[in-house]
Amino acid sequence: MKQIDLVIIGSGAAGMAAAIEAKKNGINDLLILEKDERLGGILNQCIHNGFGLTEFKEELTGPEYLQRFVDQVIALGIPYKLNAQVTDLSKDKVVTYSSKEDGLVKLQAKAIIMATGCYERNAGAIMLPGDRPSGVITAGTAQRYLNINGLMVGKRVVILGSGDIGLIMARRLTLEGAKVLCVSEIMPYSNGLNRNIQQCLIDYDIPLYLSRTVSKVVGKDRLEKVVLSAVDENLQIIPNTEMEFECDTLILSVGLIPYVSLLNYIDCPISSTKGAVVNQYMETEIPGIFSCGNCLHVHDVVDFVSQEARLAGQSAALYLKNQINNNEDRIKIKAGNNISYVLPQFVLKNSVNDLTFKFRVRKPLKDQVVFIRSGETVLAKFVKSALIPSEMVMVNLSKDKLDEVKDEIVISSEDR
């Protein structure tokens, strides 16, 4: 079996940034495996702008953003395989992939970076009530059809879910001549960025109905009608609040889930983000297997994916040089008041790096103080004027502060 130092699975924003960083940190024996026919992952179909403001201090479209990384991959001579689907992974880091060019190949890796991205929740996942006609499609699939293949998905469209892809698709379909009747959101607030509510919905007079969801899908062959109903605070449908929309397409933008099938094969522990449990090196509970990007937790801004992936790439290099000691004492990181999740979930003591904690709040909050505490000791605090669930928050902690920690750290957000 062929031996290799590092395999990166996925060549999207995360995979490329991780590979580039590993290479820059002296790892020369590496390979990127990409299942699609081109590098870049989902950014290939995200033709809208708004990317790169943090990474490059300019506003780029998805394809422009990914090209900057492709250029580096090529300039650094990082090897990659396209049309190469990873079919299996073992605990001792044997990666099996299949490609037309190479057939079925097994690689014995010393380290692996998972950068497999996420997938969309679909009609089944949300138990969409009613018929199952054609014309019900996830937002990302509609985006691929439209932006890559040049196929319109419909003429009269209802969008369920106000996540960013749903909002972006509302504008995109409108520009291409479709009538987007409304966006319906089950929660009392949108999960999309404020700017997208403005520039994708308000700009085009597309109504956003909050606390409202699909109560019935009607259609024999093709979708004919969608019924929306109001929901109560427990998200239960309130009778006699129906609104009917005659339409041929229902687009679902109802959430993304980290793609971790390969990690499930090897019983790698998974957290509440549905991505792997990781330490401050983005290393999973299986030493030498790292995870970053949307397969770790779903991000709202790609620039932060690149940032996180660089940490994974740098860490994989540390691991390969035996500079990560997995036998160090562990500190548990817990999500406290108002926090839905925190990454990393644990920290190894005697950290090589300072720490960055990433978290999301459970509900929109104003005038908050974010505390990093160990027991009664406040290790750091940060004033935040407004926090919303759709925006990932990052706070830093100096590694020296770990000396003051007993066995766990709690991150919480409290009223100022």
Binding site: I47, T61, E64, I148, R195
Partner: protein, 113 residues
């Protein structure tokens, strides 16, 4: 007093603008510029795609180099719909200069070999 949502970056500041065009609520200077533009001459960047004539079932993404007036968006889209290119194309390649006489070109945003 007008309330706006800034669209310059993902932060999405809530901006307040009084009758004398004084802007508050902005985290950075770009927010102020956006608010004034939005209330005097609102503009948007358009991103879309055009056909690649010598590649089957292939589109290439494009954008306006400068934002165009909001009320011209659909007119610009109609102009863009008429465009096509032959591969290979490179990011930044101009497909149409000064679309509809505006201070904005249509450029390629994706490399196609």
């Amino acid at each position: 007093m007008k309330e706006l949502t800034c669209i310059v970056c993902p932060r999405g500041c809530r901006l307040q603008v009084d009758d004398n065009m004084n802007v508050t609520g902005n985290f950075c200077p770009r927010g102020k510029a956006y608010a004034i533009s939005e209330l005097t001459n609102p503009v948007r960047t358009i991103t879309t795609s055009i056909r690649v004539s010598n590649r089957p079932h292939t589109l290439v993404s494009v954008k306006t180099t400068n934002p165009v007036p909001k009320d011209k968006i659909f007119d610009v889209m109609k102009e863009i719909d008429k465009l096509s290119v032959s591969a290979p194309v490179r990011i930044g390649q101009v497909v149409k200069t000064r679309v509809l006489g505006l201070e904005s070109d249509i450029v390629i945003t994706k490399n196609i070999d």
